[in-house]
């Protein structure tokens, strides 16, 4: 026997049934989407890995070639085919282009993001490089990337790219900045100038440690500039 309330309950049951069926279908689509994205990510990561291996191979090749060339140059200098002055001038320009591995006294600064409220931004790194330059740094690197004139620092999502290279963050640390120069000057100006470091620690919760060193090594930069459009001008 049909009671009065059977109808409304029946309708609600239908609606709820439809909603549940709909939910199952959407969930299925979501799972499909998850899987497709995951597959695409994996495929793209593979491509990225191969590209980075290729880059490493090229960097090693360039380093080897440069070493061999240096041997010839040294020979030329010792045999006095070229003057020491020329050799020194060449060396000086190479210190600027970053094509040689260098060493000297200076500082190592570490920026630790663990437990911070916010990440180190590319503008933070640019500002710090600027302060080091102002302080007279003669060579600078961030996580193994030599900083030269045309070094660009920018973020691609979660990646920090320096010299078009995603920098690897050592475990537990975000960034390791090395600079060669007068250690106390670099250390003081780095820590104090413009309150840059205070902003990082107070506003972002990033731990900063600056250490003066007697000797640090800074790697070379493999690439150079291709002057495709710029032509030399007689001044």
């Amino acid at each position: 026997m049909l009671k009065r309330w059977h109808l409304p309950v029946f309708c609600v049951a239908i609606i709820l049934g439809l909603l549940v069926a709909f939910q199952f279908r959407v969930q299925q689509q979501v799972n499909q989407l998850k899987q497709t994205s995951a597959e695409r990510n994996v495929a793209l990561l593979e491509v990225l890995k191969k590209a980075e291996l290729e880059r490493n191979r090229l960097e090693t090749e360039i380093e080897t070639l440069r070493k061999q060339i240096t041997t010839y140059e040294k020979m030329a200098e010792s045999q006095q085919v070229i003057t020491t002055g020329i050799s020194a001038e060449l060396d000086m320009y190479r210190l600027l282009t970053g094509s040689t591995r260098v060493e000297g006294p200076g500082i190592i600064a570490t920026l630790d993001e663990n437990g911070a409220f916010d990440k180190v931004a590319s503008s933070d790194l640019q500002d710090l490089v600027n302060i080091l330059r102002y302080a007279g740094a003669e060579a600078i690197s961030i996580n193994g990337q030599r900083i030269v004139a045309n070094t660009a620092i920018h973020e691609a999502g979660n990646n920090m790219l320096i010299n078009k290279t995603p920098v690897n963050r050592p475990e537990g640390l975000a960034y390791e900045i090395k600079a060669i120069g007068d250690p106390p000057t670099l250390s003081q100006l780095f820590r104090i100038t413009n309150g840059q470091i205070d902003t990082l620690t107070d506003l972002k919760g990033i731990k900063v440690v600056v250490t003066e060193m007697e000797n640090i090594e800074i790697p070379a930069l493999s690439g150079g500039t291709n002057f495709d459009l710029a032509e030399p001008v007689e001044e």
Binding site: R94, F227, L229, E231
Partner: protein
């Protein structure tokens, strides 16, 4: 209304509300997943583009080095090889004046009567740094600001109210001359956040900000030799 019917209507209403809530929750979850997955994909893609660009440059550099080494091996005139190397490295280091097509970007303080927010009427050092960083990203070959060549050691530093570049005082208007492909440079500028900020400040506070494509930008050589006292090339 009889007691029996009342609770049935209440149950019905609850059931409908529950259904709606479930749907909304699913919709949100779906959107979240989609945006998360896409973001990660874009990260990887953006990084891949840069790594490939780097590889292209390295391939060219490796070829250059191989060529140089071959000259030595084939017994070419060593003095000639080294003087060519010196000239090229000098150019790479920014010590040769160059010219070529590119952009001229001008920035100047506002002439308008200052009211509150004094800060916004001036051109700050970080505007220049931001722009320069985007230009290098866009493939700039050489950059000058008010005739100061930007090299590895060039700071763009504000000491109080004045900007120093290469330890020289520079005053507004700041003219940034950059040699490179105008399209790539402009695209790169637009990918940063600085352009809309500057355009907005131009409208609101009257600062000068212009970007001009040009056939011929002159970028002078760096003026002062670096005086390196601490850094040394490591002996292999």
């Amino acid at each position: 209304m009889p007691q029996k019917n009342r609770w049935q209507y209440v149950v019905a209403v609850f059931a409908v509300i529950l259904g709606i809530l479930l749907m909304v929750q699913l919709r949100t979850q779906q959107n979240y997943l989609r945006s998360n997955a896409v973001a990660k994909l874009e990260d990887i893609a953006a990084t891949l583009i840069q790594v490939n660009k780097a590889s292209e440059e390295l391939t060219a550099e490796a070829a250059k080095q191989r060529e140089k080494l071959n000259k030595y091996r084939e017994g070419e005139n060593i003095r000639k090889i080294i003087s060519e190397e010196l000239a090229e490295t000098k150019m790479q280091a920014g010590y040769v004046a160059v010219s070529g097509p590119g952009l001229l970007i001008t920035l100047a303080d506002s002439e308008v009567l200052r009211e509150i927010d004094e800060d916004f009427y001036y051109i700050h050092d970080w505007y220049l740094r931001d722009i320069v960083n985007l230009l290098w990203t866009g493939g700039a070959e050489a950059i000058t600001i008010n005739n100061e060549r930007l090299t590895t050691t060039s700071e763009i530093f504000c000491g109080g109210t004045t900007i120093f570049i290469n330890s020289h005082l520079v005053s507004p208007p700041y003219v940034i001359g950059v040699i490179g492909d105008a399209n790539n440079l402009t695209t790169s500028l637009k990918m940063g956040t600085i352009m809309p900020i500057l355009e907005d400040m131009q409208k609101t506070y009257g600062i000068v900000f212009t970007v001009e494509t040009t056939d011929n930008v002159f970028v002078p050589a760096a003026a002062a030799r670096p005086n390196f006292r601490y850094v040394k090339t490591m002996q292999q």
